[in-house]
């Protein structure tokens, strides 16, 4: 059975896996964005808190994902919980870092102007600082998503959802006649998903970055 025949036979299973893969990444990204931006907002104004947040999130990134999932299994069990926790944690770094850099990069004269015309702190954040920091934050989200696409495959190790299952199944039965097809289908599926997500982000950028600051 060549690769195309394999795809034709298994497309039902593959589409389900791809959908679950995308859905897991998407949901974790939403979570990571909310938490990451929140961490950024809370810490960007103080030097040490900002640095602490960046260092902490980048430390998380240095833990091998397989080890992270493996360590989480005894604590939260198999399946979805370790997947979500791992993906969210890994997704944080680019978002937190870009949020902090973006918020710190807002022209102090503009913040001064916002204060001067009587905007309260929450209003300033919502109407001036976050919109101006949005392009770098969105870039962070994009980078995070690409990264999570790959890491999500590892989730299959803890019986998580997604295309990783395909890859692991293939790797486990190396030498059998469908092994290579399985690995190939999983990998290519992840690449296609990543490209689709990236295209979606370009569109989101077009829609959400105000015309006045679009480059």
């Amino acid at each position: 059975m060549n690769f195309w025949e394999y795809l034709g036979n298994r497309h039902q299973q593959l589409l389900t896996d791809a959908y679950q893969h995308a859905s897991a990444v998407f949901q974790c990204m939403v979570l990571a964005t909310l938490v990451g931006v929140l961490i950024g907002v809370v810490t960007y104004r103080s030097d040490w808190a900002g640095n602490l947040a960046t260092t902490a999130t980048s430390t998380v990134l240095t833990i091998p994902s397989l080890a992270m999932i493996g360590l989480l299994i005894p604590v939260v069990g198999l399946g979805v919980p370790p997947t979500v926790i791992t993906l969210t944690l890994y997704g944080l770094l680019p978002i937190v870092r870009n949020a902090i850099v973006g918020l710190r990069g807002v022209d102090p004269a503009l913040v001064d102007a916002a204060r001067g015309i009587g905007m309260s702190r929450p209003l300033r954040l919502l109407r001036v600082e976050l919109p101006l920091a949005w392009p770098p934050i969105l870039t962070g989200i994009r980078v995070s998503t690409q990264m999570l696409m790959g890491i999500a495959a590892i989730a299959a190790y803890a019986s998580g959802p997604g295309l990783g299952n395909e890859i692991f199944r293939g790797l486990a039965s190396l030498g059998s006649k469908n092994a290579l097809n399985q690995v190939l289908a999983g990998t290519l599926g992840i690449i296609v998903l990543a490209l689709l997500f990236d295209a979606a982000y370009v569109l989101i950028g077009r829609l959400t970055i105000p015309r006045g600051i679009r480059v």
Partner: protein, 421 residues
């Protein structure tokens, strides 16, 4: 302490400004020995334009920012219209005080209209009112609402951005307008325009304006009164531009005034304030015979030919018509330059100096002829002005000395029963 909110402005007209009182205002940053602003007290009348001018680092900007408490004072009181605002919610205070800064500080992600609408929106104006107000303000600062409404700041020139910045500061019609070197970042020609615009605006609005600059010429041009500040915001002199020019309080002030005080004085007087000459005029519709009559009849060498809308068109000298064989179209020299009644004497002098016959026609609002200014009238009025200034300055000095002697006298006698005036 209490000032009526509709206090009379400095020029006697009804004023929409509010009086500002600073009392022993001090800012001390932690860790520095000297205060950045030390015990500043001053009273700014409603509807007055006061300029803080001084070398960089003298604390003029800090003093300004303490008025809307962008910088919290460490000591002293601020009163606006008699109301002590030193301890009220700063956000509330700032919505009542317009604030314009260098390079406008427009939010790049909002359109011109959104920028201007910010404050009215925050204080909860209904939508229709905000929309009308935005149009009105754009019109007021000389930008076509239809064209600029939906533009983003980066699509505007520096001067246009600054206009929008002023419009935003004026949006909720605050009685007080604080301007922190607003025209510092635009080119000299645009700056000149913006200054003229501000003068025109203030003529209509009568806000209380506090304006910070390090450019003394700008201060003279815009200020009703100028506070010359030295380090730690100590007031070296707080007086009208005329008084500062003719009678600087000390070496620091005269150093700041710089050379050419007499020339600078020309900036303070408008053409409308001096005597103009009345030239004999004819219009293009006047029959030739009558024109000859006018030229011969008056003792003048020259008459002014006006076009159909009574705008200066050509200078006609004796004999010009003869040489052109009676053709008005060919006779005389075209009028190149005119000045309005609002032009400063300096502008007028400039025009007179560049004109080869040493005179310039003065025109009204629609360009119609009003009179003529020449070297002689200029010289006479400048002499008169300087003389008057000198007399006034001597009087002021006399009064000051008298007050000082009295104070020394009181101090020597001891403060027995004398409360602080």
């Amino acid at each position: 302490m209490s000032e009526t909110s509709a206090a009379k402005g400095h020029d006697g007209r009804e004023s929409h400004g509010a009086a500002i009182e600073l009392e022993n205002l001090t800012k001390r940053y932690p860790g520095s020995q000297q205060p950045a602003v030390d015990n500043v007290s001053m009273e700014i009348k409603a509807g007055e334009t006061v300029i803080f001018v001084g070398p960089s680092g003298c604390g003029k900007s800090t003093t300004l920012k303490m008025i809307n408490r962008l910088i919290e004072p460490t000591g002293g009181r601020i009163r606006i219209n008699g109301e002590d605002v030193t301890d009220i919610d700063p956000v509330k205070l700032r919505r009542k005080v317009g604030y314009a800064i260098q390079s406008a500080g427009l939010f790049p992600h909002m359109t011109v209209a959104q920028n201007i609408a910010l404050v009215p929106k925050m204080i909860g104006w209904p939508k229709a009112r905000i929309r009308a107000r935005v149009e009105e303000l754009l019109d007021l600062v000389g930008l076509d609402p239809g064209e600029f409404h939906g533009r983003y700041p980066r699509q505007l020139s520096g001067g246009q951005q600054q206009r929008v910045g002023v419009a935003r500061a004026l949006a909720a019609d605050p009685p007080v307008l604080l301007m922190d070197e607003p025209f510092g970042a635009v080119d000299p020609i645009t700056r000149d325009h913006l200054q003229d615009e501000l003068i025109r605006l203030q003529h209509e609005l009568h806000k209380t304006i506090v304006f910070v600059t390090h450019d003394f010429d700008e201060a003279i041009k815009l200020g009703d009164r100028i506070a010359v500040l030295r380090e730690r915001s100590h007031i070296a002199q707080f007086d009208t531009p005329e008084a500062i020019l003719t009678n600087p309080a000390d070496d620091f002030v005269s150093g700041f005034v710089g050379a050419g005080a007499a020339l600078k004085r020309l900036n303070l007087t408008r053409v409308r304030d001096v005597e103009m000459r009345d030239y004999p005029t004819v219009t293009v519709d006047t029959p030739l015979q009558q024109i000859f009559g006018v030229i011969r009849g008056r003792g003048m060498n020259e008459i002014l030919l006006l076009d159909k809308r009574r705008r200066p068109y050509k200078w006609l000298r004796r004999g010009d018509l003869m040489r052109a064989r009676g053709s008005l179209a060919r006779a005389g020299t075209l009028v190149h330059d005119t000045v309005t009644r609002d032009a400063t004497l300096r502008d007028a002098l400039e025009a007179v100096l560049t004109d080869n016959a040493g005179r310039v026609a003065v025109t009204g609002r629609r360009g119609e002829y009003i009179g003529v200014v020449d070297m002689e009238t200029l010289m006479n009025s400048v002499h008169e002005l300087l003389e008057a200034d000198r007399l006034e300055a001597m009087e002021a000095q006399h009064e000051l000395e008298e007050a000082r002697t009295q104070q020394t006298h009181l101090e020597q006698e001891g403060p027995g029963g004398v409360t602080k005036a």
